[in-house]
Assembly symmetry: C2
Homo-oligomer: 294 residues x 2
Amino acid sequence: MSPIAFSGALIDRADHVRGDPDALASFINWKARLLQLDGLDPRIGVDGRLAWTSLADAAPDSDLIFLGLERTDAGERGCFAELPAKRHQDGEPYANPNLWTALSSLSSDELAIYGAARALKDWHNRHGFCARCGHETQMAKGGWQRSCANCGAEHFPRVDPVTIMLAEFDGKLLLGRQPRFPPRRFSALAGFVEPGESIEEAVARELFEEAGVRVRDVRYIVSQPWPFPSSLMIACTSTALYDALTIDTNELDEARWFTREEVAAAMAGDEAAPFIAPPPFAVAHSLLKWWLEQ
Amino acid sequence: MSPIAFSGALIDRADHVRGDPDALASFINWKARLLQLDGLDPRIGVDGRLAWTSLADAAPDSDLIFLGLERTDAGERGCFAELPAKRHQDGEPYANPNLWTALSSLSSDELAIYGAARALKDWHNRHGFCARCGHETQMAKGGWQRSCANCGAEHFPRVDPVTIMLAEFDGKLLLGRQPRFPPRRFSALAGFVEPGESIEEAVARELFEEAGVRVRDVRYIVSQPWPFPSSLMIACTSTALYDALTIDTNELDEARWFTREEVAAAMAGDEAAPFIAPPPFAVAHSLLKWWLEQ
């Protein structure tokens, strides 16, 4: 399978550094790199890659999020993102077309570094208070924890597991349109895994809830970290027991069965295709590509 | 593969009921069942099964968590758990041997209902305040959401994806001992998936961090919801590149390679086995069973 976007970062997360204040401080130096973000969005340099500067560009009252260590000819250097003291209130990413254009220009390993930074910064922005007691919390462990001095609670960055899945019936594939999708886009159905259910159960439940389809033989294919805001996309396939659809119109504008030829045309970007495929950085794209190769 | 404990609940989660106050109210009646919990622990009836009573047993100032609908000969009935107004501060589940004895007596579908109820109740207990603004939040959608009247934030039950994995080298399997394990217990290594990494990357990172082992060919096997406090266990296997171990003693007391015969003896409960296998309700048990059957 080709590289999955938002995974494969070429830095070492160096967990042992996060929890060791002396080690962490030793990487806050002139060699360190600071990822440039506009709010939560990536800043792209003239070379078309992620823009980095040095820690000198961080505001004195900012916190630094430790993204990890990068190996260079001159040894290891720290990679950081800045968390300004004043929290940024960000808009809905799916309503920001410039973001998606910027993402399309980045390689999968650059997307991975950006995705981790975005997910962490966004988590801090939205978790400044202790969910257990309501007091303000402080960043700890290089940004991989927030601690409450009042009640002692430790809070960790949230990752929400989401299933995204194909259902196949008689050689045809079920795809749907969420209301927020651009015109003519169809993609795999998806939904959050809830407490008390397995991946396989979540896949079956979502397909029944959203499209009225019962499935068997749910099978895991691939996973992807998705930083909007911080999901773990778990891509699966399944076999539908019938092709009658009952659409939940709160979740989907439309769902339809597509033939192999129709999916192939959409993935090839054919103008005559009956729909527009998800973009290459979405795991649904990888999932459709996998299906065509079967 | 045999049933996975904590999955396969025989109730319909009925998402459409949660968000519809009238529909939800219509199931709060004399037919409804109330799951009995002692704090977060299950109460076991004289028949050795989960104890249920009616909603008449809920305190007037309790909130009700809607677990789902159960089909009976007399139609559907609601299943609920009680969230007392006074939050219970629960101890560490792993330090409570009575809990593990109780779990051993329950079937996998009963464990699934209990697990969902425990995870939700625990989440409410630990999330009474808005992480975004610090104000108190209120339960919504039958317990599947908390809402902040101050800033408008909506909070959803947390599910933390955790990888749990085998590494194989030359026919031998890597297992480890966490400090909190009972004497002689060895199990699969495990660790949380972080923002910005795929399942496959998390498996490789954890095995290197905890045991110093590099792996290839990470492969998904099975998943399990684990309600301590609310994880999604994602069980994988992998192939190690070498068998030299470097143990992270903060995470593990010990890690060792075991032969197929040694694993088989432990899984059979043989007293002469070199270790005690994880209990049947742990996904590590299913993973070891799968490996022996390969």
